[in-house]
Symmetry: C2
Subunit: 498 residues, 2 copies
Amino acid sequence: MATKLDQLKKRLRTVYCLREASALLSWDQETGMPPGAAGARAEQLSALSEAAHDLFVADETGELLEAAGQEVQDAESEDAHLVRRCRREYRRETRLPRELVAELAEATSRAQGVWARAKAQQDFSVFAPELTRVLDLTRQVAGCQGYDEHPYDALLEGYEPGMRTSRLRPLFEGLRGRLVDLVRRVGRGPQLDDAPLRQVFEVSRQREYVQRLAGTLGYDFDRGRIDQSEHPFCISMSTRDVRITNAFDEDFLGRSVFGTLHETGHALYEQGSPERFLHGPLEGGCSMGVHESQSRLWENLVGRGRPFWVHHYPGLVATFPQQLSRFSLDDFHRAINRVQPSLVRVEADEVTYNLHIMLRFELELALLEGSLQVREIPEAWNAAMQDYLGLVPPHDGLGCLQDVHWSLGLFGYFPTYTLGNLLAAQLWEKIQSDLPSLEEDLESGNLEGLRGWLGEKVHVWGARLTPEELTRQATGRDLEPEPFLAYLEKKFGALYPA
Amino acid sequence: MATKLDQLKKRLRTVYCLREASALLSWDQETGMPPGAAGARAEQLSALSEAAHDLFVADETGELLEAAGQEVQDAESEDAHLVRRCRREYRRETRLPRELVAELAEATSRAQGVWARAKAQQDFSVFAPELTRVLDLTRQVAGCQGYDEHPYDALLEGYEPGMRTSRLRPLFEGLRGRLVDLVRRVGRGPQLDDAPLRQVFEVSRQREYVQRLAGTLGYDFDRGRIDQSEHPFCISMSTRDVRITNAFDEDFLGRSVFGTLHETGHALYEQGSPERFLHGPLEGGCSMGVHESQSRLWENLVGRGRPFWVHHYPGLVATFPQQLSRFSLDDFHRAINRVQPSLVRVEADEVTYNLHIMLRFELELALLEGSLQVREIPEAWNAAMQDYLGLVPPHDGLGCLQDVHWSLGLFGYFPTYTLGNLLAAQLWEKIQSDLPSLEEDLESGNLEGLRGWLGEKVHVWGARLTPEELTRQATGRDLEPEPFLAYLEKKFGALYPA
């Protein structure tokens, strides 16, 4: 006789397999789907998501969850963590009326198209009515899911379990002043030259290089593959099949190299999930923020550090001798760390990036609270850009229309990028103290120690812990802005001497 | 208020979208899935198929079918055809107990592995116990689904709706004697030389050539893509996304060229399904046999005919001047029509191919009737090979273990290959009479008339008609062996003069 827990796992297995199938359909859509299939694909994705949803929110799941919870004795066991995580999701999904989910799907599908048009026309007013509708439905979603303090908490919970607005505010408050100061200080000195990266780099050679690079980091090609897409991403069809994509710019080497380091960071997390979590709620990462900590750690803490390139730069020069042999390691290190306030978030450097996020966080809060109206967004956006980065977008396309997120109803998502940056630095601080030879290891191309640490402290836990538990367990304390600020101030203090 | 028919269509839409997702997972499995994902993928496919099955066989589907059937007035309307086809499938699927489906899935999954091992070891006795089990379960399936005359009918019905053993027997009877005679006659004259095809042909150039060739036939790349796989196939994720694959042999040009013509024939049928059949039971082909008629028509009736190459051979020579410029069109035409009795079905020519099928059909019948025991298969196989083709396999790997079909429980499938060959010739005869300029059109590379005829008489009907209805409507009579035999005897009489 199967236990209730076994029955629950069996049921979840089907739900997760359906979600994994959706992931493959999405991967295909971005990498090679024939253009004429777009409409049919959207219908297939919606059918899959509906089928998985219906199976998951059925009363039977709730009853099994209840009974399984009583079977599990040890509250710290894997099974207890599974039940806890699943219960949380069950509560969230069952609280949403089917009609609201359908209305939101329909509204965001339309809004996405209008957003693309508005962006091309550089005119926010085209998008405003759609955004108003999406925002209204998002407020209803928050209301259905419930919250103790702030409606934004209900949205945050979808991406960063346990995170609260009241916790984010002081975290961000602690960053703002020192980041703005650092940006200004950097702006006063002589600028770093990124000429080494801005030459013509044959795409096929870039492709070969970054594929090798991903392998060097530990990406397992037996359980993954690398393709090309318009924007790079990582997607998991289970820990047995974690794919990444590259995007190339013939005139800028940074795009493929740092994109690959970033996506490989995500992929190592997914590939590091224990086999026994396959097709279940504990597989994969524990939150968007923790996931971003893994990509950012490899992209920035490792990949924009000098030690890593002590080992790797000669190979890069050998791949592009014509372009790079006249530049020293230090030239290259400076080039990849140029700080330059810019209008577009996805192109931002380590110092300015989080100011883009804060701006969005503040606008989202104000919109949700009703203190900001949709039509007022462009003005508020431009004022904040002037405040933080000293720049004003020439038009909305490079301003408040730059991101797709709001059209998709992804309010509450942006802060996880900054949480990832903070956690990456806090993990890095701990890794440096746990692995005294880290710097020499990186300089000699030995990544074993670093991979082992991340595997043991982060990857192997899958989605068992909350982000807060994982942070405490891995670093010994709660998430703080200080490690990140100290890292930036030290690194860029040296790169941009006063 | 939605009609019952609308509700039925909505429900079927989800079922078909799930099946289409399965198709994409299968496509990916054969074209680019990381090897380590195999086990997880099998589980995903099984979850998808279970979810689609559960949704389809639910009582609600039956009730909607019943009510929708009463709403539809005109028995010849599209909606009536939809209800008819769906009812038939509903009856078949609901008659199978869930446990039997699971047992068969498990048995065939195991049998497939054992079959591959037995084939490698060239030893049928390794496979016999597994085949016995699969056959036993297949008999149970036939019993559950029911039949009037012969248990084989219940299996046939799954691939060729309406086909009966009592109809197949005389069809095949009519073929056997004249085919064996033709094989013997051909064997007496001087052999044709296929040297033109057996040279080194650079694979990348083959790839470019056959992709262009598919486009020339009318394959729509906006709703499809061509990849490489071990064995070529065509798979449809809806009429908006019909993909084919190629396989290449550097030492044999015939493999990629005729593989492409074959799969493109399948693809044109799928791409020709009307848009309004999307995600429903009327989309795609009406049976395996009719599907095979489309692939064979392009591969053989068109693609091994002289007129087609009058137009295309110069382009092929231009692609491979070093290999082909010393061979004339007639040399090439003879090379692609060499008849040679061989042990392996998939390599067989137009004349011998159907003898391979008849052999399998007769063994399947005898197995199902109990007049042949599994352990007696090798002896029966070898005796029939001697009878039909004058050859005896040196071992079971090249004999009764050559096909994967039985390990998968696909009894009743083989005859559809021959039905396709017969129908292709019968359609061709009608096309020739309806399009007097066909030969000149082919010689000048004008495929409009042919494509138009097939579109109107076959493709646009999707799965509305039974194979029998379609055959009658398109050719004015029931399926007969005569057009096929006349075509072969005329063509190979000329190629192999007595």
